[in-house]
């Protein structure tokens, strides 16, 4: 006769009771309980089985051929997988970023617990402040005082209030002043969960983010680092260094050099910087305005880049795109499809694979080469810049002011050339293309070439209203 084990029914009763209690009194059975104690089910099952077998043995009943059948092992493995899954979800889920569906954020796991944060410390001789906030938005404002003052809010997303309280204590925000350097940071040195494993450190099942508002003496330099969160920095006279995996950065009225290194960013914006600006990383939009020092932007940028009133040279590099210029009293806009600019001082150099280029009012020298794209160039005022403009596929429109001196050579290898400038320029038609040559006297060489496309040269009447560059000069 085959003996049936008690383990199956007992397991079912246990699971049923667990769900019933969870439904009736949710506070008694938490996910934490299930996530941490599920292996006890295996132990209990095994013990029950051992007791059964010993009982059969002692009462001289026949023993089954196997202690656990193949099907029971499969069930045990299934419990292991389910338990490990719940455990992993409990450990990692609250740290997942919220799901955004149609503009609404949906938090899937855990609850948010908020804690106020505030601290104040005299920092009379401090010249440099390091700010380390792993996650959260930070706003730093320079002030006339000599204190570091912070206020803000910490949000801990986890499963229970007790765990949140413990994590809050373990991640206190502190200000340390050591001579000329101060550190503002979210502490995380003590292991947040004492009974967690000590091998590879497992972070607690929580997402902690700290939004801080800092007031600092304005003559300091800042070194800010974080993993995730935006930085707003205003009225600081020293240098500013920002390093983050993912951040939006907004800077205003910075007295020193600015250096920004980002892995990922939606926007980097800097207005009124007296030193140099160096930005590297991957970002979407970049906006720089009124920068006195040299500007260097490198990495990969996929959004809109806007530059205005740069008093020093600009070097931009992103993938195959390269842009250099000497000064930008006007403005420049660059995105993945277009380069538009006016009021630019050269030498200007632009290299790109595919861009439509429209430049107005530029000086000194233009060296432009794109593989695909239409060019629209109107240097705008005498003396004209030297121009070398090449597009493999695209039309070129060149507008030359009346009375300017230059020597032009425009070649459309497969396309038409239209001369609306008039003499002394003359069109000569070749086999499949055309060219336009001529000079109005000793002046800069203008060379325009398109492999596949047409060229249109026209004259801009004299006496046009004031150019943007002069307006910008007056403003600077």
């Amino acid at each position: 006769m085959r003996r049936t084990s008690l383990a199956g029914p007992v397991l079912l009763i246990l699971i049923g009771v667990l769900f019933l209690v969870r439904n009736l009194k949710p506070e008694l059975v938490s996910w934490e309980l299930v996530a941490r104690y599920w292996p006890v089910v295996l132990i209990g099952w095994g013990l029950l089985r051992v007791i059964e077998i010993l009982y059969w043995w002692l009462t001289s009943r026949p023993l089954p051929p196997k202690g656990l059948s193949g099907g029971e092992w499969v069930l045990a493995m299934f419990i292991c997988l389910l338990g490990a899954g719940i455990s992993a979800a409990y450990r990692y889920a609250p740290r997942l970023p919220p799901l955004v569906i149609h503009g609404k954020t949906v938090e899937l796991f855990g609850e948010a617990y908020d804690y106020p944060v505030s601290a104040k410390q005299a920092a009379p001789g401090v010249r440099r402040i390091k700010i380390e906030v792993p996650r959260g938005n930070t706003r730093v404002m320079g002030s006339q005082g000599s204190e570091i003052e912070l206020s803000g809010r910490k949000t801990i997303r986890t499963f229970s209030r007790t765990l949140a309280d413990r994590l809050d204590r373990a991640t206190a925000v502190e200000i340390q002043v050591n001579g000329a350097e101060a550190i503002v940071r979210v502490r995380s040195d003590e292991p947040p969960l004492s009974e967690e494993r000590s091998g590879p450190v497992t972070p607690p099942p929580a997402r902690i983010s700290t939004d801080l508002e800092l007031t600092v003496p304005r003559q300091v330099s800042l070194h800010v680092s974080g993993r995730h969160g935006d930085f707003d920095i205003l009225h600081v006279d020293g240098d500013v260094e920002i390093m983050s995996d993912r951040a939006g950065v907004r800077l205003q009225e910075i007295g020193g050099k600015v250096r920004v290194e980002l892995r990922r960013s939606d926007i980097v914006r800097a207005v009124q910087v007296r030193g140099s600006v160096t930005i590297s990383g991957r970002a979407s939009d970049v906006e720089l305005e009124e920068v006195s020092g040299p500007v260097e932007v490198s990495g990969y940028y996929s959004g809109d880049l806007r530059f205005r009133k740069l008093a020093g040279p600009l070097v931009f590099q992103s993938g195959n795109t390269e842009l250099r210029l000497a000064r930008l009293p006007g403005q420049l806009h660059l995105d993945l499809g277009d380069l538009n600019g006016s009021g630019i001082e050269g030498p200007i150099r632009f290299r790109a694979r595919s861009r439509d280029v429209k430049l107005e009012d530029f000086s000194e020298e233009l060296d432009l080469s794109v593989e695909r794209g239409d060019l629209e160039l109107s240097p705008g005022r005498a003396p004209l810049p030297r121009i070398t403009a090449v597009t493999e596929t695209g039309d070129v429109e060149l507008v030359i002011p009346e009375g300017a001196r230059f020597a032009l050579e425009a070649v459309a290898e497969r396309g038409e050339v239209t001369n609306d400038f008039g003499p002394p320029l003359a069109v000569s038609t070749e086999r499949r293309g055309a060219s336009l040559k001529g000079a109005t006297g000793p002046g800069p060489a203008i060379s325009v070439r398109t492999h596949r496309g047409s060229i249109w040269v026209r004259k801009e009447p004299a006496g046009r209203p004031t150019r943007p560059v002069e307006q910008a000069r007056r403003l600077l």
Binding site: Y37, W38, P39, V40, L42, I43, G44, V50, L63, P65
Partner: protein, 79 residues
């Protein structure tokens, strides 16, 4: 009748391994010893249980009564 001590051990082998698995997974939750490091314990335990069966098994020539047809082969495949 399969009433030899070795058959008892064989029947108990599954539940004992299950208990050991549960203990290791509990240790994974509450102690620094993660399952990723302690799993060889299961192999050792399985080996020990098999060894113990061989040790307590009576000599086939000496003590196999006519009821041999009922008892499963002495070293039958495990779980």
């Amino acid at each position: 009748m399969n009433r030899t001590p070795s058959s008892l051990l064989r029947v108990l082998r599954g539940p004992i391994l299950l208990i050991a698995l549960g203990v290791l997974l509990t240790a994974d939750q509450f102690t620094p010893y993660g399952f990723g490091r302690t799993w060889p314990v299961l192999l050792i335990l399985y080996g020990l249980l098999r060894l113990l069966e061989h040790v307590v098994e009576p000599k086939p020539t000496a003590s196999y009564p006519p009821s041999r047809t009922v008892s499963p082969p002495p070293s039958g495949g495990g779980q």
